[in-house]
């Protein structure tokens, strides 16, 4: 199984001289870096103090109190001035969806325009953030932007004052927030304020995608996820039986676990535990509550040796191997369903049947809410108008077409899930239960989310690679992750 990561490259230059660029001495640089400094210096706890200072004279500028934003917003929304918004996005590009959204907005507000600036990342959204931050520092970032919570930058952007709070707009418009799943709305909140509306979202790798053909071959029934004997031990039993070997040659891996931070969180949550404490300050890898989960992983990977270990699967190709019948059961989520369906070439080799993880004592199944957001740039000269566009993006039509046209997985609205696109696929509908019982992700307190995740993924490998003793490897991983969580916030 592959570590969730970005598989593509930046096209890195080897010969600097060719690229060069930049200019005029460090004096100019020092001068410009102080000019281009973001209004919010360092870690101001109150995000509202980061409101745009430079926005010249526009009524929406320098709103530090909620009352200031309100009259300005009303004035602007009733104006007929031609306004052009700039939309910087890396999601949905290359599809008709962005234009569809722009057309919807322009129909509502005929005097306005939206300039789309796609950010074509090489296969992982992480590459977009340096560019967006640099543009923000240079005051050239667009009005409509997105800093996704699940990829951690949301928790950096808010304290740095990059985002414009939307609480007042919500109140003013009397926006009904129950249109979206409550958990996704919760995800839009941080440090006491709300920063946007839901965009993409799912409940993580909370499912087990079985290959029904393989099950038939070994004489096992498709698991009944509501049966009381559907337990984690049973999952292991299935993994063992689905594994197929000829001598030393593996014909089919029994199971493909997701062994990055997100995947292991799901497994830890099956035992009502987690890999990080609720307050985001302590790593729990050696905690007694999570040990059964760790042992379970170790047993499948090393004792039984039936897992497709990361590194044996080229990055991002787990679904391809499953579709080719090389994996008995794949840990994946709702978003894999479409990809798997498209990738299955021969229905005699692979047939998809998705099942959720076993229920816990509290009745919930392990899941981890993951999702994105649509934000307004705090430097924007037209925050309310930008907010109006966010409402379009996050509307019923916006979210539905984000799925059907925009190639994104956005299960953030219950009404959207009633559409044929989802209901026609029973494997999709399996995940509805978890959307209604979503468990939020725990964010590291110091907001070093990316480093926490990468450190976990790398050091946890020592556990399932079995090179050293289980307890030692676990302790090493615990120490490494704790070291990251102990760092001061930047």
């Amino acid at each position: 199984m592959a570590i969730p990561a970005t598989p593509a490259s930046l096209g890195r230059r080897r010969f600097l001289g060719m690229v060069a660029s930049a200019l005029v001495g460090s004096a100019a640089l020092v001068a410009c870096s102080s000019q281009s400094a973001a209004p919010a210096a360092g870690n101001t706890p109150a995000p509202s103090s980061a409101a745009p200072t430079a926005a010249a004279g526009a009524p929406t500028a320098a709103a530090t109190t909620s009352s200031a934003a309100q009259p300005a917003a009303t004035a602007a929304s009733q104006s007929n001035e031609p306004i052009t918004l700039i939309w910087d996005t890396f999601r949905g590009i290359g599809t008709p969806w962005p234009q569809h959204m722009i057309d919807t907005y322009v129909k509502q507000f005929p005097n306005r325009k939206i300039t789309l600036r796609p950010i074509p990342v090489p296969g992982g959204q992480q590459e977009a953030y340096p560019k967006m931050y640099a543009m923000y520092a240079a005051h050239t970032l667009g009005d409509n932007i997105a800093f996704d919570p699940s990829h951690w930058e949301f928790y950096r952007a808010v304290p740095q004052g990059i985002l414009f709070p939307v609480d007042d707009f919500v109140a003013q418009d009397k926006l009904d927030l129950t249109q979206w799943f409550k958990a996704f709305i919760d995800m839009q909140h941080f440090k006491g304020k709300m920063w946007g509306l839901p965009s993409w979202g799912w409940t993580g790798v909370d499912g087990l995608h079985f290959n029904e053909i393989a099950l038939q071959e070994v004489g096992l029934p498709v698991p009944d996820q509501n049966s009381p004997d559907w337990t984690m031990d049973k999952v292991r039993e299935y993994a063992d039986k689905l594994n197929k070997k000829t001598g030393n040659q593996v014909d089919r891996y029994g199971i493909d676990l997701s062994l990055g931070a997100a995947g292991v969180t799901i497994i830890a949550r099956a035992w009502t535990s987690d890999i990080i404490s609720e307050d985001g300050k302590k790593a729990l890898l050696t905690d007694p509550s999570v040990l059964p989960a760790m042992q379970w992983i170790y047993d499948i990977c090393q004792t039984d040796k039936v897992d497709a270990l990361p590194g044996s699967i080229p990055s991002g190709k787990d679904n391809a191997l499953f579709s080719s019948g090389k994996i008995g059961v794949l840990q994946g989520g709702s978003l894999s369903v479409t990809e798997l369906d498209t990738a299955i070439k021969d229905p005699k080799v692979t047939k998809l049947k998705s099942v959720l993880f076993p229920k816990r004592p509290d009745g919930k199944r392990p899941n981890q809410l993951r999702g994105g957001t649509w934000n307004v740039n705090s430097q924007s000269k037209h925050p309310y108008e930008a907010w109006q566009f966010i409402k379009v993006l996050s509307s019923y039509d916006g979210i539905l077409t984000f799925n059907t046209e925009g190639d994104n997985g956005a299960l953030t609205r219950p009404d959207v899930l009633k559409d044929k696109f989802f209901t026609q696929n029973p494997n999709f509908m399996v995940f509805l239960e978890n959307l209604n019982n979503a468990i939020l992700a725990i964010v590291p307190f110091n907001a070093h989310g990316t480093e926490y995740e990468t450190t976990f993924t790398q050091s946890f490998a020592n556990v399932y690679l079995g090179k050293s003793d289980f307890k030692t490897a676990l302790q090493t991983a615990q120490n490494a992750v704790q070291a990251v969580l102990d760092k001061p916030a930047t």
């Binding site: 060069a20 340096p130 593996v250 590194g311 990316t450």
Partner: protein, 310 residues
Amino acid sequence: METQLPAAPAPRRGLSPRRRRHIISGYLYLSPWIIGFFLFWLGPALASLVLSFTTYNIISPPTFSGLTNYVQAFTQDELFWPSLLKTIYYAGASVPLGLIGSLAAALLLNVKVRGTSFFRTLFFMPSLIPIVASTILWAWLLQPDWGLLNGFLYRIGITGPRWFESQEWAIPGLVSLALWTSVGGPRMIIFLAGLQGVPEELYDAASIDGATRLQRLWHVTLPMITPTIFFNLVLGVIGALQVFTSAFVATQGGPAYATWFYALNIYYQAFQYFNMGYAAALAWLFAILIVVLTWLQLRTSKSWVYYGGE
């Protein structure tokens, strides 16, 4: 009238007009680089040096932090020394093998047989494909259970290693990828160009004296192309030490940091964790290492590189 003659001993009263003109011409021809260097390069380089003494996350202006970053590199970053060692291991394997491979390929292709241009283009193909595509393809070839390489080894009775799944074999796997993509690439072309510069008369003279082909290779070809070898060596070392893309795409630095090269560490610190100041410190330490290595190579080059024009 300008001349090309290098400095003659200066006359008692300062530089001769000839010498002065010579020096001025030298600088004049150098000027495009001097201008470009000051305009486009010096500023950012100095900025990055200054940044290495700060804490900087791109969003807000840098805050001064003294030597913290450097101290952190040497004492607190658990990945600093391992990443350095792994990078040196990788370079130590890939550079010599790469040089030998490219030279052999160039010698092989330096023939006038029909269709050589076609063959040469095929050899160069891996360099023409974006490295991402090659890396993904190579990852499939090295798949431990079904990949072609292990399949072939199995047929001759060897159980192949687990390649990118294992910590010991990940770097060798990347070295093999590097060889595959670079043997027929720019290095080979440069060797080809260098081989053209060997005067025909030397080969004639050697064969008249009864030299075998191997002796001709050793006594004529190799010495005459030492400038080219030197060039490829210096650049090969610089490039190998900065290995990044293949590790990023194939293994993401894993498994368990096995391929967490120095450049990968810099990248993650800079663009994933946004510790730009720390990344700058890492970068400058790295630059110092490379400068020292290159200077050493330049110094010792005088003893083995032969420039025909001097």
